[in-house]
Symmetry: C2
Subunit: 270 residues, 2 copies
């Protein structure tokens, strides 16, 4: 990836609170032909995160110009934007007048297999249980060590994605995705007010459902209820929607509602 | 603070996983007259953390030489050592062969009031509840956003330190310290197998108790039991031991066992 720190081709001050304490937020975005998909939703989530963490908001116009001015015009790219509370005195205490650091990375598009969209992916339940932290739930903050340890399990077991439960045993989502279950033509996805990330694609799916009259609900989702689903799919802003073809020992077929939402939201995005 | 990244006066690669995911550990240490107090315990905890997170261990001899070679010979200093899993491909997946980054910061000694040692400090219970994460409990990892939000509460209410409870309402420790309660000449401190940091000074206190025949136990500590204590003190590797003079509306006197442990461990450290 190529990186800009505060708009310049420079490295990061080691006293930055993003490094010291995970005191910041990030967005991972899909760029295609010089545009970022779901940019409004990404910037809205980022602004909401800054508000919740009391990090001063960035100027949205400048941010858009900085991002879009750097995108390759003719190829896909992954764009990562990190916003931290900046540097400050030693210690957890947030500085009284923080000067946020923005870190923009643009890198090559990963080659996801086409079969992930058509046939679906294999997910396996991780043994790691996510902690519950209502003040941080939903935020795409930088404290991601649980996800790192969970993803190491996924690498070891050869699945495409891990399924994460919380400490009480409820479904939270995938290691890098949100998860949806379809049962009797109704859509269910876990609440994310205690753990998990409020995914941009999760929101896009729920809004598509509202537009198209598809019944959708955010619920406490038990693993047994997920296993009883007719269809399961996962979402994130990079890949869009992937059907789940296997959850542990359970086999599934990509279903009608999954296909409909893929088409409706334009995935795979050629 | 002055910083060295991998032994050189340079800045940090923004792709470092310490920034991206809090994928690393840190130690905050007290230097005096060219030596670091409790260096063995710090390096042991760091090595244990690397083992648990599967970060390759650093060469301890090199690390000692790098740290001690940089200390001011005649004044106190705060030394911060950060070890991350290094840079890696985008995504949570840890690289197969990580090359850890070590980041060493040396800064001015904070002027703690002498009265913190003699009269004690004021602590207040934070409203934020710490999450439970057994795989991360005890580690001094970089994911510290909960502590940042808690410390912001402390700044707002004017206390010297915050008292943190977990999501189940049990005492975990201070925002930057471990906490001890004395009742009928027995010492109690919270277990830290679900939340909290295995403090270097916490260990030094427990080892001093074992040496000196003081009865000490790690327990599930309820706030009511803490309030019923004869003495309360907090510890960390920078300050040593501070008596607690007030916990919310409760007033306390620095007690006999607190004084004995301060003397035994050499605090205040002139």
């Amino acid at each position: 990836m190529e990186w800009l720190v505060n708009g310049r081709d420079q490295l990061l001050d080691p006293s930055d609170r993003g490094l010291a304490y995970g005191d910041g937020l990030f967005e991972t975005m899909a760029a295609n032909r010089g545009r970022i998909r779901w940019l409004d939703l990404h910037l809205e989530r980022l602004a909401d995160g800054c508000r919740r963490l009391r990090i001063p908001p960035l100027d949205e116009g400048e941010l858009r110009a900085e991002i879009e001015g750097r995108l390759p015009s003719d190829e896909r790219a992954v764009v990562k934007l990190i916003v931290t509370r900046g540097s400050g005195a030693r210690g957890y205490r947030p500085p009284a007048r923080p000067r946020p650091t923005r870190i923009l990375g643009i890198g090559a598009w990963p080659d996801y297999p086409a079969s992930h969209y058509t046939e679906g992916i294999v997910i396996r339940t991780c043994t790691l249980r996510l902690s519950e932290s209502p003040p941080l739930a939903g935020l795409k903050h930088l404290c991601r060590l649980e996800q790192v340890l969970a993803q190491a399990e996924v690498e070891a077991n050869g699945a495409d994605e891990g399924l994460l439960l919380d400490v009480r045993g409820r479904v939270v989502g995938g290691t890098s995705s949100n998860v949806f279950a379809v049962r009797s033509q109704r859509l269910y996805t876990p609440r994310i007010d205690r753990s998990g990330v409020r995914g941009v694609m999760r929101r896009a799916v729920l809004e598509a459902c509202a537009r198209e009259g598809i019944d959708a609900a955010e619920i406490d989702l038990e693993p047994e209820a997920l296993r009883a689903a007719d269809e399961i799919f996962v979402t994130n802003a990079l890949v869009g929607l992937w059907p789940v073809a296997a959850l542990d020992d359970l086999r599934l077929e990509p279903g009608q509602l999954t296909r409909r939402l893929q088409r409706s939201l334009g995935y795979p995005d050629a």
